[in-house]
Amino acid sequence: MTTMRLPLQYNLRNLVVRRTMTLMTAGGIALVVAVLVLTLALAHGFSATLVSTGRPDNAIVLRGGATSEMMSGISREAARIASADPAVARGADGEPLALPEMVVLVNLVRRDDPAASSNVTVRGVEPRVFELRPDIRLREGRMLKPGTDEVLAGGKLGRRFEGCGVGETLRMGGRDFRVVGSFDAGGSGFDSEIWGDLETLLPVFDRRGFSSLTLRLTDPDRLADLLARLEADPRVRAEPRIEREYYRAQSEQLAGVIRALGLFLVVVMAAGAVLGALNTMYAAVGSRSREIATLLALGFTPRAILASFLIESVLLCLIGGVLGCLLALPVHGVSTGTTNWASFSEVAFEFRISPGILAIGLLASVVLGLVGGYFPARAAARRPVSEALRAG
C-alpha cells in the first residue's frame, strides 16, 4: 500500500488560522534562539580576535614556565643567541628576522566611564616589527621616530581610552608620550595595544631585559629543533612556541567560560520553550480530534498523521528560529571589550555572527520543534477513530 502524505498546505493553513497562538509560541522560541546566537557570536568574536593574532610561521620565545608575555623575561644575551639560530629566517639585509619586545601593562582611564580603568598592553618594538607582522598597517598619522617619546595606538584603543586618539598625549610610567599614529591590525589582539620605541620604553618601565622574542622561522616544522636547542642552552633556557598557538591558548579559557555560561542559559531557556511548544501542539491536536479521526477514517495512516503534526511543530518552531536570528542580527559587529584573564589585559572584540552560528540557531529551533511536537503528534496518531469522532 502506498502511503498518502498530508499536504504541507494543511499545516501552513493551520498555523495561519491559529495565528495568535502561533506567534506567541514562535516568539518564545525566537528569544531562546536569539540568546543562543548572541552568546555563540560573543564567544566566536572573542576567540576570532585572539586566534587571528599571530602568524603560523612566527615563533614567540618566552622564559621557561611563563604562560604569558607579561610574566616572561628574556635577557639580551639569550635574545642574541636565539636570533642566531639556523631555524630563524633572514631578511633582505641578511640579518635574522628576530624581534625582541618588551610588554608591560598600564592602567588607562576608559572613555565610557571616567571612574573606570582597565589594563592596556604597551609593547616596546623595533622598526622591524612591520616586517615580522606584515598584516599590520598604519591607518592614520605617521610612523613613530625611534628614540623619541612617540607612540602608535592600536585601531580599537582611540575610541575606548582617554589619551589614545591620534594627536593626544598619554601619561605612562611618569612620562608623557605623544600618539602620532594609529595602526590597523585587522581586528586582531594587537588592535588593543600601544606600541612605542623599545629602547625608549625599557628604562621608563625600569626593565633591563626583554619580555619576549619573536622569530620568523624558515619553516614552521623546525620549531621542534629550535625548542630542543634553546631549552638545552643554559644561557637561554627559553621556550619557543608558534605565535598563533600562543594566542589561541590565551583565548581558550575565557571563550570556554562564555560558551559554558551561554550553554547553561540556552539549555534552561530551551527547556522552558519546549514546554510552551508542547502546550501549543497538544492544544492543536486536542482541538482537531475530529479532523484527525476523519483523516484516519479516510485511510491516512497513523504514520502520516504523526509526520504531519511533527512537520507542523517544526514549522512553528522554525518560524521562531528565523525570528530569533533576525532579532540577533543587528548586534553583529557591535564591539565590546573585556579583560582577558589569561593576560590580564583589555581585549576589544566584536560580536561576530557567522552563517554557521545562524545554522546552529535554526537547527536548535528544529530540534525544539521535534521534541515539542513528538508527544502530541504521537497522541494524535494513536487515537482510535471511533473515540475521536465522538469527541467534542
Partner: protein, 381 residues
C-alpha cells in the same frame, strides 16, 4: 471569593497536562531569573565585605609594577593613617593551571592586625611570623583541597620563577560568610629573601583612623609620591575591587537584558495557555452568566485561575533556586565567595509571577466579560 476556590482549583486541574506544562515552564524560567539576579547580588555582596575604612596604594602605572617597601615608613607618617601593611600577588600554579586560587606574599607582622575579619589563633599567627616558609590558607581553600596544618603545598611560580614550597601553619576562619577565603597567604620575607633582598611589594594596605576622610588621605598619599620614580594610585578597598569587576565589561547590562528576554518568553507561554483555557470554556462561561453571575465575578474567576497557576510556578521556581544554590555551596569555581539567593530576589520572582498572572489573565477575562450569552451558547468548542 473563597467559596469559589474549589471551583477554581477544579478548573486548573481539568486539563492537568496543560496546567503542569505551564507551571513547569514558569518554574524553569523563574529559576533562571533567580540565578541571574543572584549573580548580581553576589557580586554586590562581595563588594560589601570590602572595607571603605582601608585604602589600597599601588603603583600608578599598573598593578603589574611594584612599589619600594621603603614607602611604608613615609605612609605611616601621613596624618589619618593608623596602620600600614602590604601584600604582593604571587600568581603561582598549584599542580596545574586549572586549580586557580589567589596567593599573596604578605607582611608577616601587621597584615592580620589590619584584617581582623580573618580569624586566626594567637599560636597560628606566632608560627606564621617565625617560620620563613609558613603559609595560611583560607577556610574555603582548605575545605576544597583538604589542606590541614602541617601539610606541604608546592607552587610553580609564573611571575617569580621557580618552585616554591610552603607549610600550612593555620587555617583562617572568616568572620562573616560573605568573605572570600579561597586563598593562600604566605610569609613575604620568604619571597623577599629568595629574590636577594628584593625590597619591593605589590600593594600597601592603609588602615584609616577616620573612614570619612578616605578621599583626602588618598589624595595626600598620591601627592607625597608624585614625581618620584614610583608614583602611586590610592583608592578605597571597595573602589579597588570594583575596578576588577568593571574590567570584565558591562556584566550588569548583559544580565538585565537576558532577564528581560526570559520574562518576555514566559509571558508569551503563559498568556498562550490562559487564552487556550478560556477559549475552551466559552460555553461554560456563558452558562455561568446565564445563571446570573455578574461580569465582575466571571472576570474574577478567570483572573484567579491564571494567578493561581503563575504563583504556584513562582513559588516553586524561586524555591528551587533557593534549594539548589543554598544547599549546594555553589561558587562558580571560587569566583563568588558565596552564591546565595536573597529574599529580595525571591520577592522579585514572586512579583514577576504575580505580574504574569495578571497580564495573561486579562485578555481572556476581558473576553469573558464581553461575551454575549446567546452567541456563546451556540459556540461549539
Amino acid at each position: 471569593m473563597t467559596r469559589f476556590l474549589p471551583f477554581i482549583l477544579r478548573n486548573t486541574l481539568r486539563n492537568k497536562r496543560r496546567t503542569l506544562l505551564t507551571v513547569l515552564s514558569i518554574v524553569v524560567s523563574l529559576f533562571l531569573f533567580c540565578t541571574l539576579r543572584t549573580v548580581i547580588t553576589s557580586l554586590a555582596a562581595s563588594l560589601e565585605s570590602a572595607s571603605s575604612a582601608r585604602l589600597i596604594t599601588r603603583r600608578s602605572t599598573s598593578l603589574t609594577f611594584f612599589l619600594p617597601i621603603s614607602y611604608r615608613d613615609r605612609l605611616t607618617q601621613i596624618p589619618g593613617v593608623e596602620d600600614v601593611s602590604w601584600a604582593t600577588w604571587f600568581g603561582g600554579v598549584y599542580i596545574d593551571e586549572r586549580n586557580f586560587f589567589a596567593q599573596f606574599a604578605i607582611d608577616p607582622l601587621r597584615y592580620f592586625e589590619i584584617y581582623p575579619e580573618y580569624r586566626l589563633t594567637a599560636e597560628e599567627k606566632d608560627t606564621f611570623r617565625r617560620e620563613r616558609t609558613a603559609c595560611i590558607v583560607g577556610e574555603k581553600l582548605a575545605r576544597k583541597y583538604g589542606f590541614e596544618v602541617g601539610d606541604r603545598i608546592t607552587l610553580r611560580g609564573t611571575i617569580f620563577e621557580g618552585v616554591w614550597d610552603f607549610t600550612v601553619c593555620g587555617v583562617a576562619q572568616p568572620a562573616t560568610p560573605d568573605l572570600d577565603t579561597n586563598w593562600l597567604l604566605f610569609n613575604g620575607e620568604y619571597l623577599n629573601q629568595s629574590l636577594g633582598d628584593w625590597g619591593q611589594v605589590g600593594t600597601f594596605v592603609l588602615k584609616l583612623a577616620d573612614p570619612d576622610r578616605a578621599g583626602d588621605v588618598a589624595r595626600i598619599v598620591d601627592e607625597t609620591f608624585a614625581n618620584s620614580a614610583a608614583e602611586t594610585k590610592t583608592e578605597t578597598e571597595k573602589a579597588f575591587q570594583l575596578g576588577f569587576i568593571s574590567m570584565l565589561g558591562n556584566i550588569q547590562a548583559v544580565i538585565y537584558s537576558l532577564g528581560t528576554a526570559i520574562v518576555i518568553a514566559i509571558v508569551l507561554v503563559s498568556m498562550n495557555t490562559m487564552m487556550m483555557a478560556a477559549r475552551e470554556r466559552t460555553r461554560e462561561i456563558a452558562v455561568l452568566k446565564a445563571l446570573g453571575f455578574a461580569d465582575r465575578a466571571v472576570v474574577g474567576l478567570v483572573l484567579a485561575e491564571s494567578l493561581l497557576i503563575t504563583l504556584v510556578g513562582g513559588v516553586l521556581g524561586a524555591g528551587l533556586a533557593r534549594l539548589v544554590f543554598d544547599l549546594s555551596d555553589f561558587t562558580a569555581g571560587g569566583f563568588f565567595p558565596r552564591f546565595t539567593v536573597t529574599d529580595g530576589t525571591v520577592a522579585q520572582a514572586l512579583g514577576i509571577a504575580l505580574f504574569l498572572g495578571v497580564v495573561s489573565g486579562v485578555a481572556p477575562a476581558w473576553n469573558a466579560a464581553r461575551l454575549r450569552i446567546v452567541d456563546a451558547l451556540r459556540h461549539t468548542g
